[in-house]
Amino acid sequence: MAKPVVEKRYTLSERIYLVEILKGMVLTWRHFIFNFRASFRPGPHTVPTCWQYPEDRREISPIFRGEHMLLLDEQGRELCVGCGMCAKACPAQCITVKMAKVPEGEEGRYAGKTCSQSFNIDLLRCIFCGFCEETCPKGAIVLGQGYELARYTPEECQLGKERLISNFRDAKAKGTLKPPRKPVPVAGEAAKEAEEKGSKAKGTRTGPATARKAAPPKA
């Protein structure tokens, strides 16, 4: 298994090093000047490609798969019926749900006939695949835009029901709720189903494409 011998053929400008190095230096100089000028712009977001994190945050996709939340409907009732489909679909098995009948006298708090007695998501295990969200028949569990997931103790990583609902309330207050999913047209029965669902879900999943960047340097 002799190694092939490779003949090196260089042109003159390649051979003398300097020409190509100088060309490269011109290129890097352009970038330098562009960013140097940009860095004097006001505001934390100066160089177009650089986000100065705590005070200057990039736009997060409206359908980002971040920290979970449990949705409430317009009357403030929990949508979750505790069926446990999410727990079943979860590849990381990080969800535990206990189903219970809605206690008497508390029908106003729950949208369904049953509810989740307890609902726990283990953030330490979650891989943020979004399968729970996709499986949920009621659209009750949603992955939100929260991406700052660092915690001090493992206990804080256990998202109980209160935390999940308060996540929802925060998101609602901030206006970062996920738009409803567009129905996925399925081959064959597409036409029929799309008509039925289309009337229900009009929202789009996509956010506006905003102009986030200045023009890159002219090369």
Partner: protein, 346 residues
């Protein structure tokens, strides 16, 4: 004023100045690299992140000083000192301005005008290699020893073309004193060019700058500390201020080399086509000459940064090949042609 006091003031001034430049260089390097790479770089500590070197220094000073278990303790401690001392000392013979007249006393802006300034710089440059090899060997680490060996081979190889390029320059000016060389660069050359060394020794300058990059272990010759190959080379095992001394010594080296380049090839404190001495007062002339000199030095310091973030790194054998097969023959040819030209014209 006593001569002693003046000498001490000059020493302290150049010491502080070099340190300051080296400190600011770490900041310039990081910000410059960031700007070249479409980033921002350290900008949190102080205005424009200017206090970042200070924070780094505090960090380095307060970190735990670790000496590896099987390291040679004495040499391990000696390494960084051997490396940084010559770097600081070399600046002593480089003139950083013309002269300043204070209270009727003429003070030359140079710590000491040694008549063999050249040799002194070259000798000290060779000393630095001991710091590298001693540090690399004492660490008792395979990556360190590889880095130390690479560095030694590289420094010794590139000292030859470096010295030959310097020799050609010495032939042109007929002196070893850096101050006399600086003074000789006033006026014009061939009637229209500034009388700078680069126009008399273009090839010599090219050789000098390439060799200087190799002497300073800078990209594309940074293989003694090639991060992706041998972790950090000879200072892999170093931490705290010992590492700081290595890094610092490197930047001081850059200062010295840049100053040397300016002194030899870029007219030191002279502005092209302009005799500042003719229309500036004695004190303002001294300050202006220093500023002009410093401006030129800053350009070369920036060039170090600029090149570093543009080109890839050589391989060990390619560095040797370039040094021995290309630079040394070129340097010899340059020396020969220079000597011939001088012989014919004088």
């Amino acid at each position: 004023m006593n001569d002693w006091v003046i000498a001490i003031i000059k020493v302290v001034f150049i010491w502080v100045w070099t340190l300051l430049v080296a400190v600011v260089m770490t900041w310039v390097e990081r910000r410059g690299a960031a700007m070249i790479q479409d980033r921002l770089g350290p900008n949190r500590a102080g205005p424009f992140g200017l206090f970042q070197p200070l924070a780094d220094g505090i960090k380095l000073f307060t970190k735990e000083d670790i000496i590896p278990a099987n390291a040679n303790r004495i040499l391990f401690i000696l390494g960084p000192i051997l490396f940084s001392l010559p770097a600081f000392s070399a600046y002593a013979v480089v003139p950083f301005g013309d002269k300043i007249v204070i209270a009727g006393k003429e003070i030359i802006l140079q710590v000491s005008d040694v008549n063999v300034g050249f040799l002194y710089v070259v000798a000290l440059g060779s000393m630095a290699v001991y710091g590298v090899i001693v540090g690399g060997w004492a660490s008792n680490n395979k990556f360190s020893i590889l880095g130390g060996l690479r560095s030694t081979a590289q420094l010794i190889s590139y000292e030859v073309p470096w010295g030959l390029a310097l020799l050609a320059a010495a032939l042109v000016y007929g002196t070893f004193s850096l101050r006399e060389i600086s003074i000789a660069q006033q006026g014009t050359f061939l009637g229209f060019l500034p009388n700078w060394g680069i126009f008399r020794q273009p090839l010599g300058f090219l050789l000098f700058i390439v060799a200087a990059y190799a002497e300073a272990n800078r990209v594309p010759f940074d293989l003694p500390e090639a991060e992706s190959e041998i972790v950090a080379g000879y200072h892999t095992e170093y931490g705290s201020m010992r590492l700081g001394l290595y890094l610092f010594g490197e930047y001081v080296n850059l200062c010295t080399l840049s100053a040397l380049m300016v002194t030899l090839y870029f007219g030191s404190w002279h502005l092209p086509y302009l005799n500042m001495e003719a229309f500036l007062g004695p004190i303002s002339y001294g300050i202006a000459s220093f500023l002009v000199f410093f401006l030129k030095v800053s350009f070369f310091l920036w060039l170090f940064v600029w090149v570093r973030w543009t080109v890839p790194r050589f391989r060990y054998d390619q560095v040797m090949g370039l040094g021995w097969k290309s630079l040394i023959p070129l340097a010899l040819a340059n020396l020969f042609v220079t000597a011939l030209a001088i012989q014919l014209t004088v």
